[in-house]
């Protein structure tokens, strides 16, 4: 019955669109579908090397958000690529906040104005199932330019992969780290935080002290807790260490047996408590700060600690944005000595069985929040353009290009390749001191090599799980509208409602597929 209706529904919309066509004037060619009628034959079709291919006359529209971050390197290297292969790269940008809707509207209505996207691989959950993205598994593995094996194992095997197939080409490494002021911690004889309790202790000790010499009291810790910004990621940066212990494939969001949310338990409660305590050692308006604000506060020397993606590294060395050059250290996300026992929902102490990946008895779970900007290719376009789009993305990701780009602050690209850690010279050239570069890269490397990295949620309706249900409950909890238990209940119920609506089995299969469980 329901099926019948849905068919009719689809028919209705389709036919409504037809009315419009009928009303419209003679079909003029869409400006977007700029497929040239005569594509010159490729000289070496099938050859994976970009340089060997001839894409003269092909135009690739790449959609991403308005930079300079991410868009800048694409725009800068587009002409180089055109000289190399003849393919014209046209970078189209829209405001960051509306990128997802824009891509989705374009593909799902069959407009197909864009041939490639540089986007958040989290969206794969929504995009892969209906077949919007091109499977590039075979291409990447046989591509000598791309050097697939050089990409960090997490990004290669989890971030770019869905159900065992590769759909995106990583251009950026994204995960959370803790940043601290080396000068302040040294002065007060404090060590960088290893657990969240350490973090709170340092924040408490520094709160209210003058940290940048302007005579004003400053803050212990600055974290973006604004609603509908980044607050829903940071809660998992904290909670992750309590929830996930057995490696990436275990997952931190749902129980892989029954798709029950891993929220209504002592681990998540502990994370919420820590999160709320952070409000005490922070700027008074912290619940209205987004990462732009906290980065500004940290680089102007007003915070002792911060929790952020890799961006603070390059921002802290730029004199236009920073007062704390060479005073910033980075470290892997703090961990926990107590972890969740999934059968009882209680916290248990770390030992060899409960925390096989623990370091010094502390379980760390670096969180690959968002997942790093990646390139993907529209599956519904001319294969010739797909080839050109792939060649361009591979060119962007190849070590020759990306190893330079990741050291440039304004590209917004963070390291994701093994070769990017071996050589500190590029980093020193970009303005870091040798020690700072080692420290920064060390923290990234420690996170990247952790087998217990948390893969961000990427199942159908991920945005509803995270941006609506989780975000709203966390915001209400922080603002005091609801208490801890109510927040956990609200998230659990909200997530279960979406899961049941979409079909529990479908969602469970998708969740397992994203974690690579069935491989």
């Amino acid at each position: 019955m329901r099926n019948g209706w849905s068919m009719r529904g689809a028919g209705l919309v389709a036919s409504l669109s037809l009315i419009v066509t009928a009303c419209g004037t003679a079909a003029t060619p869409s400006p977007a579908a700029s497929t040239p009628a005569s594509v010159p034959p490729a000289s070496a079709a099938g050859s994976p090397s970009a340089a060997a291919q001839n894409f003269a006359g092909v135009t690739v529209n790449v959609l991403t958000f308005t930079g300079p971050q991410i868009a800048e390197p694409l725009q800068r290297r587009g002409p180089d690529f055109e000289k190399l292969t003849g393919a014209k790269i046209n970078v189209v940008t829209v405001p960051f906040s509306d990128l997802y809707q824009k891509i989705l509207t374009d593909i799902s209505t069959g407009t197909n104005s864009y041939q490639a996207f540089v986007f958040d691989p989290q969206w794969m959950g929504d995009f892969v199932a209906p077949g919007y993205l091109l499977d590039v598994s075979d291409r990447v593995k046989s591509d000598p330019v791309l050097k697939w094996d050089d990409i960090g194992p997490f990004f290669r095997d989890f971030s770019a992969t869905y159900q065992g197939k590769v759909y995106t080409i990583p251009l950026d490494g994204d995960f959370h780290m803790v940043y601290y002021r080396t000068d302040i911690l040294q002065k007060d004889g404090l060590k960088p935080p290893a657990t969240w309790d350490d973090y709170l202790a340092i924040a408490k000790a520094e709160q209210g002290k003058d940290l940048n010499g302007d005579g004003q009291p400053d803050y212990g810790s600055c974290i973006s807790m604004k609603r509908n910004a980044q607050a829903y990621w940071f809660i998992y940066s904290i909670g992750g260490a309590f929830i996930q212990t057995q490696g990436t494939g275990q997952g931190a969001f749902f129980n892989t047996d029954n798709m029950q949310p891993l929220v209504n338990n002592d681990a998540f409660a502990a994370a919420l408590d820590i999160y709320k305590q952070m409000l005490k050692y922070a700027p008074p308006n912290q619940i209205n700060l987004d990462v732009g604000d906290t980065r500004g506060l940290f680089t102007s020397g007003r915070c002792a600690l911060s929790l952020d993606w890799g961006d603070i590294g390059p921002l802290a060395v730029d004199p236009a944005t920073s007062k704390v050059q060479d005073k910033v250290g980075a470290i892997i996300l703090p961990g926990s000595k107590q972890v969740l026992d999934r059968s009882s929902g209680k916290l248990v102490a770390c030992d060899a069985t409960t925390c096989p990946n623990a370091v010094d008895g502390i379980n760390h779970a670096p969180y690959a929040a968002y997942g790093g900007w990646s390139g993907a290719i529209n599956a519904k376009i001319d294969p010739k353009i797909q080839d050109a789009a792939y060649a361009f993305l591979a060119y962007m990701s190849a070590p020759e290009q990306s190893n330079t780009d990741v050291t440039i602050g304004k590209t917004g690209f963070n390291p994701y390749r093994t070769s990017q850690f071996s050589d500190t010279s590029l980093w020193v050239k970009s303005g870091m001191s040798e020690t700072a570069a080692k420290n920064y890269l060390g923290a990234i490397q420690a996170s990247l090599q952790s087998p217990n990295m948390i893969l961000d949620m990427r199942i159908p309706k991920t945005q509803q799980y995270q941006q609506v249900v989780l975000d709203q409950a966390v915001a209400q909890f922080l603002a005091g509208e609801i208490d801890r238990d109510a927040a956990m209940k609200q998230i659990t119920d909200g997530w279960n409602a979406i899961t049941d609506q979409e079909g529990r089995d479908t969602q469970l299969a998708a969740y397992k597929a994203s974690l690579g469980v069935q491989r």
Binding site: G11, S15, S17, S30, D293, G296, T321
Partner: protein, 329 residues
């Protein structure tokens, strides 16, 4: 006016001037700051407590030259054209609603809605669009011709006006996807025309409502004497009514111009590479690294300059005397 009253009046005027200008002043000086000067607490006066820089201006106007110019031109074209067209169509409709009487029969309106529903049902059941639309149009015409005359109850001008204004009640998020599909089907996505048509349609109701009130304050004697002299309605409208209604026309024009100039959501969806307008560029300054206040300030500053210029030029038409003089003349 007594001196004391004058002083009070000036105090109020200057007070509100400060309220209006301070935020704009803040934008202006923010555009001259380095990021670090914004982030490390407030500084107020260039040269006195911070060293101004033109970096942000240079970035927007020189480094991004074409990426700034293109949306800028789009904004000007779309804003001015759509406001002009909306004003033209809307003021004639408003005049018609003031001076003529329309009595759309309820039955006919119901028949129209019924035929529309018929077409939709037919298409939902799989009939081709042309046949469904053509067929239900035919049904509509036949029904109107046969039983249409029997309907007595009719709506009036005020109902037509209310229907018009009610078209603004749905929030843009609810209409943007259907409108996107609409323009996709006629292959007008990413063109200035799509934006112009959309803004004309969304701003028309406002023009009609505002102009209706201005027209109804015009003494009818003027039109009557012209009618006696044998002038056609078109002529009366053009050479008598419009000149007298200039203050209202100017106010309304400025108003719809600003609406079209500043609209965000519809512009976001109907444009991609070629037809993007300035509000998108402003909003885009909040990306992964947080709002780039300095760039945003530059963009807002350059965006308001033409509107201010136009306001200065047009303001004098919103001044007294025109109407009174016309009545006497």
């Amino acid at each position: 006016m007594s001196l004391r009253r004058k002083a009070v009046a000036y105090a109020l005027l200057i007070g509100w001037t400060i309220v209006v200008l301070f935020p704009i002043y803040w934008l202006a000086i923010t555009s001259l700051k380095q990021p670090i000067q914004v982030d490390s607490g407030p500084v107020y006066v260039p040269f006195l407590d911070f060293k101004p820089t033109l970096d942000a201006w240079k970035y927007i106007l020189v480094d991004l030259q074409n990426d700034t110019l293109r949306p800028y031109v789009n904004t000007v074209v779309v804003g001015v054209v759509s406001a002009t067209v909306a004003l033209a169509l809307g003021s004639t409709a408003a005049y018609a609603l003031v001076r003529f009487e329309y009595r759309p029969r309820i039955g006919v309106v119901a028949l129209f809605i019924g035929s529309l529903a018929l077409a939709l049902v037919a298409m939902a059941l799989g009939a081709p669009a042309e046949i469904a639309i053509g067929g239900s149009l035919a049904v509509f015409v036949i029904l109107v011709q046969t039983i249409g005359r029997r309907f007595r109850r009719a709506l009036g001008n005020s109902d037509v006006a209310f229907w018009l204004i009610s078209q603004r009640m749905l929030p843009p998020v609810a209409v943007v996807i259907p409108i996107y599909v609409l323009f996709q089907r006629v292959h007008l996505l990413d063109t200035q025309l799509a934006l112009i048509v959309t803004y004309v349609a969304t701003n028309l109701p406002i023009v009609v409502w505002l102009m209706r009130d201005y027209f109804s304050t015009i003494p009818i004697e003027l039109e009557e004497s012209a009618a006696v002299d044998g002038a056609s309605p078109f002529r009366i409208f053009r050479s008598i009514v419009l000149p007298v209604a200039v203050p209202g026309l100017v106010a309304t024009f400025l108003f719809v111009l600003v609406f079209a100039w500043n609209e965000y959501l519809l512009a976001l969806f109907l444009s991609s590479a070629n037809a993007q307008t300035m509000p998108l560029t402003v909003a885009a300054q909040n990306a992964t690294r947080g709002p780039q206040w300095w760039y945003m300030s530059v963009l807002i500053m350059i965006m308001i300059v033409p509107v201010i210029a136009m306001t200065i030029v047009l303001e004098r038409y919103i001044s007294r005397g025109l109407l009174v003089g016309a009545v006497k003349g």
